[in-house]
Each structure stands twice: as C-alpha cells, then as structure tokens.
Subunit: 368 residues, 2 copies
C-alpha cells in the first residue's frame, strides 16, 4: 500500500483549511510568493517564445536542457563537488529525483532516516516496502538533508556527517543527499555536499522549488556514475522529460539575473519571519520546545503530553489557523506530540495573530 505526503489522515482537513477565508496557514512548506521573480520570468518568457526553434514548447532530451545542466553543475563545483553537466539529470522536482534514486539503488530493504524528515521521502520509502531505521544505524540506503534539514532547519554536525559516510562505505550502502534547502542557511554559508566526499556513494538531489518557484517543477539528480545510465532510463520512463518551458525559463533567468543576490534577499526575508515566529511562540506557546533553525522554512515544535495531530488541527482550523501535524514527519510513532510551523509563506504581520489562534486551539484540544 502506498502512503503519500498529504493524502493521509490530514488531507481532508488541509483542504478544508485551504478553502477557509482568512485562515492563517503555517502548513505546506510553501515559499513566499512575494519572492517569485515575476518580472524577470515575464521577460524570460517573451525571450524563449521568440527563439525560432521554440524549444520551450517542444519535446526535449530526457536528461534536460544542456545549459541548465551546466549551471547546476557549476554551482555544485563551486561547493567542492567534482561534477560536470553530463552528470546532471534534470527532474520534475526533487520528489522525482528521490524516487529515481531509490529505484536504481542496488539495495533498499532498509533506509536510514532522521527521526523527523520530509514526508514525501517517507512516503516513497514506505511505498517501496522499505523498513525505516534510525539514520546512524547500519542500512542499505540512507536518506539525509545534511546541508539543511526539514523540518528542523539544522545543518548536520561534522561528526554525524563523518559517521554517515563511514557507515555507507563500510557496509556498501548508498546515500540520498537531499539538498533542497541548502541555499536557505541564514548565515549565507554554502556547504560542501556529501557528493564531494563520496561521489560513488551519493545520489545528490536538488531543486529550484524552494529558491525560485515550485510551480516550475524543476529539480535535479546527480547519481553515482555506475548508476547514471539506469537513472536516466528511469527518468525517461517516468515522464519522458521535465517541462521544456520551465527549463528554458530557468536558463534565461540564470543567464541574466544575479541568482546569489536573489538568495541573499530570500534569506533575510525568511530570517525576519523566523524571528517573528519565535518571538510569538515564546510568548504564546511557552510550553512547547524547539531549537532555533539555522535555515529552512519552519520551526519544529514538540510538547510533552500526548495529543493527536488530527485533533489539534481540527481545533486549529476552527480557530482559523493551520499547521502540519508532526506525525507526517516521523520515522516511527511517538507518544509526544509535535507540529511543524512554516513561517515561509505567512505574511509577517499575520504571524503573531496566527500563533494566538493556535495557542487557543491547543488549550481547547488539550482540555477537550
């Protein structure tokens, strides 16, 4: 049986919430639409449509646009990886890249994951019938976000990183490195990907969804060279190719715009929101614990008492606020309750009001 990121028990509630006028939503990991480079993409669109071959609307190769693969490779090289454009497969978002990595990895009966991680990846591993181990237990495959974790927003400590590589090497395991949130580090420090340390062991996954726009559905996969051909065949088998239009838009955008400046603006905007959310949570939800994130889109909050995410979410939606229940992110069930609050897409001036509503819902659900 397949699982799915949001099509679980919370799906119906999430849809009710989305329909509700005036609801403040901390759910979903959506980027701030104010950061979408609309004007630049508009210019890029007119440009790509005027190209005589109109590649943006035609079929393309399964591995993706050559200049886009160049740009992706360049950015990885700048971070220490030995990668060429030929190693990059453009995918329909990071989700598909994870799916392909799992499909071609030689063994996948056990997958090591963080105690909390990206629900889309958990759905893929569970759907394939894998058992989920703690990340630093011996497994056939490991899934990690070393540069910036979701939902916690933390960079992986050096010792853990070394241990992960050692485990993979010692037991002929492979690592899926999900780099989706790398560019969101608030200090603006780039990180050396695991791919740079062990290119023969690492499936490296990235995306433009968190940095530019998820609606384009463009991500990428760098597979170990021994698996590159099979990964490409699998990509083609899945959907032939990523959107030509999205790829051509990105090529134009990256050619003319200063992407690093965009990322710097993005980080300062998200940092301001994170601070506002932390201040609100500190004031109105003092009973919950969290570690201040050093990047990413969200706060991972934990409580001591048992409370089903569904019950809290129902109460919250009644109060006009939504969040992601912690259960979706967990490798294994826990008696303690947790939730993810994304500050990324909430207008800054609504953050405190949302947290006041959530505090009210938590009181009701806990006493109910």
């Amino acid at each position: 049986m397949d699982a799915a990121p949001t099509l679980g028990p919370f799906d119906e509630l999430a849809r009710d919430a989305a329909e509700q006028e005036g609801l403040i939503s901390f759910a979903g990991g959506l980027p701030d639409a104010q950061l979408f480079p609309k004007r630049q993409l508009g210019a890029a669109f007119l440009k790509v449509l005027s190209a005589p071959s109109c590649a943006a609307l035609q079929y393309g190769w399964p591995e993706g646009s050559a200049p886009l693969r160049e740009r992706i490779a360049e950015r990885l090289v700048a971070r220490g990886a030995h990668v060429t454009a030929a190693d990059v497969i453009v995918t329909s978002g990071a989700q598909q890249a994870i799916l392909i990595a799992l499909a071609v990895a030689p063994r996948k009966d056990t997958v090591g994951v963080d105690d909390e991680c990206y629900p889309g990846a958990l759905a893929i591993f569970r759907g394939a019938g894998a058992s989920l181990n703690p990340l630093l237990a011996e497994s056939a495959l490991y899934y990690a976000m070393p540069s910036m974790s979701n939902p916690r927003g933390q960079r992986m400590p050096a010792a853990e990183r070394a241990r992960l590589l050692e485990l993979a090497r010692a037991h002929d395991g492979y690592i899926i490195e999900d780099d989706a949130y790398e560019a969101t580090d608030f200090r603006g420090e780039t990180s050396r990907p695991l791919l740079a340390e062990a290119p023969d062991r690492v499936f490296h996954v990235g995306t433009f969804s968190k940095t530019l726009c998820p609606g384009l559905r463009v991500g990428w996969l760098v597979a170990p060279r021994a698996f590159a051909q099979r990964a490409l065949e699998r990509k083609q088998n899945q959907d032939l190719q990523a959107s030509s239009l999205s790829q051509e838009l990105l090529v134009e955008y990256l050619k003319h715009e200063d992407f690093d400046r965009h990322l710097s603006r993005l980080r300062s905007r998200y940092l301001k929101k994170r601070k506002r959310l932390e201040a609100s949570v500190r004031e109105h939800l003092p009973q919950l614990r969290w570690t201040s994130p050093s990047g990413g889109f969200s706060l991972w909050l934990e409580g001591d008492h048992p409370l089903a995410g569904e019950d809290l979410l129902r109460a919250a939606v009644d109060e006009g606020v939504a969040f992601d229940p912690g259960e979706s992110f967990r490798r294994a069930p826990s008696p303690h309750f947790a939730l993810r609050l994304c500050y990324s897409a909430v207008p800054e001036r609504q953050i405190e009001r949302g947290i006041i509503r959530l505090a009210r819902a938590l009181r009701k659900a806990s006493s109910g």
Copy 2:
C-alpha cells in the same frame, strides 16, 4: 532491467542525427512548431503572472488545477463519457499517466498490446516485467489506442473494439486507453472513448502534447473510481503535481481561444504533409508497403527483406535523413524490416528531399 523509448540501441544515432546541420528528421513524433500558439500563450503568461496569489509559480494540489480538470472532463463528456472533474488527475504528460495506470492496476503479469505500438508504453510494461501478448489474447491488462493508433494512425475497427471490451469484462481485465492522438483524425470526427463503455474497466489517458505543445508536459488520467484514490496517491508520490505554470497557461488558453478551431487547422496542416509524404514514398520507395493513415503523425512502412533498423538508420544519417526504426515499436521481433516516418514536424517542402535521401540510404544498406 529497464528499457526506455529512445535510450536503446538507437539513442546514440538519434543524438548524432540531432546535431547534424541540414538533416531532415522524420523521427520522434514531434508536433509542428509552427502550430504552437505562441502569441496566445504569451498573453496567457502575462495574465497568470498578474494574479495576486500567483498560483502559476506556487505549489498546487496533486490532482491538478480545478478549472483545467473541468475543461478536460467537459471534452470527454461531449464524447459520451460519464466523467466529472473529480475523476480527472492532471499528470506530467501521458507517459506518467500510463505509468500510474500500470502501477495501480490489480494484475499486470500479462499486457495485451498491438503488434506495433508506442515505445514509451512498451518500455513501461517491459520495465515492470510484464509479458506482452497480442492485443486480442486473454491478458490481465490491455494497452490500446482505439481512437487513433501510433505508429499506424488507424482508428480501431468496431469489431475489434467490441472484442477488447468483451475480453476485459469476461476475464476481469483492465484496459489502458491511450487517447493521445484522438484529435488528429483527418475527417475531424471525434470518437466515443472506451471509457464511455466501461468506466469501471478503463484507465483513460490523454495529453495536450500532440494538440498544443509537448514542452508543457500536461496530460491526464481518468482511473476507474475503485482505483482513483490510489492513482492520486501514486501521482503525488511521483512528482507531487504537474507544473502549475503549464496548467495555468492551459486554463487561460482554453478560456479565451477556440481550441476546436485550432484542432481543425492542425488537422488540415498534417493532412497536407501526409499527402506529400505518401506521394514521395510512392515515387521513391515503391518497394515498401503502408496503409494510408486516417490520423496521427506518421506512416508505418514495412519491407519484405530483413534489414536491421540500426544499419538503415546509420546509412540514413550519413545521407542526411533520420527516422524511427521499426524495432522500437514492436511487441515481438520480426524478420521483416519496418520503420516509422513522422511527417508532423518536417517542413512540407523538405519532405520529398528527405525521402530521396532515405531511398538512397535504403539502397546502400540493402546492398552493403
């Protein structure tokens, strides 16, 4: 081991061909770029970017855009199917819809297919380890293009259609109905989909790739209701959702443009090209057999003597012309040689020159 549509033995040759200046290519099933509604899509782009929520660049629901699903359902209803928008899942092209149908179909050890059919589907079935049966033998699953076949460009005869439905019903089988070329029927006659006859047995697959632009990567799946939820979960698991941007553009396009008029223009353009190709083949390749297609993008040509598609393609690329070797389309090996010639994307005035080159290549390869 996975197979893949073009990543087989012909891939390298196809890539060489694509790089060659002045080559005339009858390969690949590409639509005519002259038919892409560039101006209309340009207007649509500016419109969707100016929407306050900017849904075109943001995440959307896994099942796709509600108004787009409405438009797709309406067109199916007009052809006799009992479908609502809620039955439609927007996919990243038809390839993904076929993959999802196979994934959720209850049995898939045997798949009945035409003796020649779409290589992308064959790759999916072979990749899943299915045995391929003749279409009208008893199978667990059937894959067919009843409205317009690829590569032959024929509508399925009524008797065969009735037999297929009878087989599926009698042996608890399911049918994947690939409707990709439906709108290309030269007479402009729409057809009643198998979905209308047996909604509980038919996975209906469609796409905008052949009628508007493949670069958008938008197709759809209507699954039998008993499988709808699993199909949606699978869709989400694969890549979360189809491109928001492409979907919003299509909604705008379909709202303001006369799609049926566009289809009518498209048919007359392809019909002219088909006639030109047939005249050229009749004159320069009289030793090959074909049936005049009543729609689609291509001519399926067969010869009596054995000749490997790879050898002919190599000789052809040397002469400055390319095509799709017949082997890619075949359910089972054949001693006779065959090839697919797509007239769709070749400028009309180049068609005869291309066929003269091909005739020269065929002489060389046959004598060599």
